[in-house]
Amino acid sequence: VSATLDRGTIAAAVMDDLVAIEIDGVDETVGLARIVATTDALVVGTAVVREIMARVGVRTRSLVPEGEPVAASAAVIELGGPLAAIRGAAPLALTWLARCGAVASGATRPEAGNPIDAYAVRLSARAAVGHDGPSFLLEIDRGSGQES
């Protein structure tokens, strides 16, 4: 199992859901947002989040190294770009981040043959946390609202 995720693997895993997301094409407001842990969590799957966000024109910056544990309320990824795209893609990104973190922390069993689950399992030995599974939310910066 690879220690990293290649783009082809990620694209194959997310594309069906990505083409189905809904983005308000009229709103061109740009701004910043953060993905924040709402529980103690392992941060795994940032490359998946980066892939999802990049496809809708949103830049990402990891605030926590891949595979590291964080406490509740920690910001883990910063996002910048069209707020409509951030809002539209966030549910999918949060779902993947929670899924990868849950597999890595042992809260969810990996799916056989799923390369992203296999990658997440590989990171679990570094810092497992025992809880019912991580959770994340999107926080949009107050003051964001600049027309592009």
Binding site: R7, A11, L18, V19, A20, E22, I23, R55
Partner: protein
Amino acid sequence: LFLALTEAAERARSGERDANTLVAVMAREIGATPLARLDYAAVVNEATFEPIGVLDRPARAIVAARFPSARLIDNVALPEPAA
């Protein structure tokens, strides 16, 4: 989109230097994707992002496609031309 870019990169790696051919490859791949409507496909100068006709310098393939509820974009660096 990634498949279209990968196909273009493979063609470039195999020696294809005509950017229009690579654009056609990407357009055909995206055109065959259900629900996708090609917005643009281009081969651009890596440094300036200006479209180029021949792969004789570092270049990047870029694509955008509209789906029913979202517009998606992607790009990939093309293999360097052989010296």
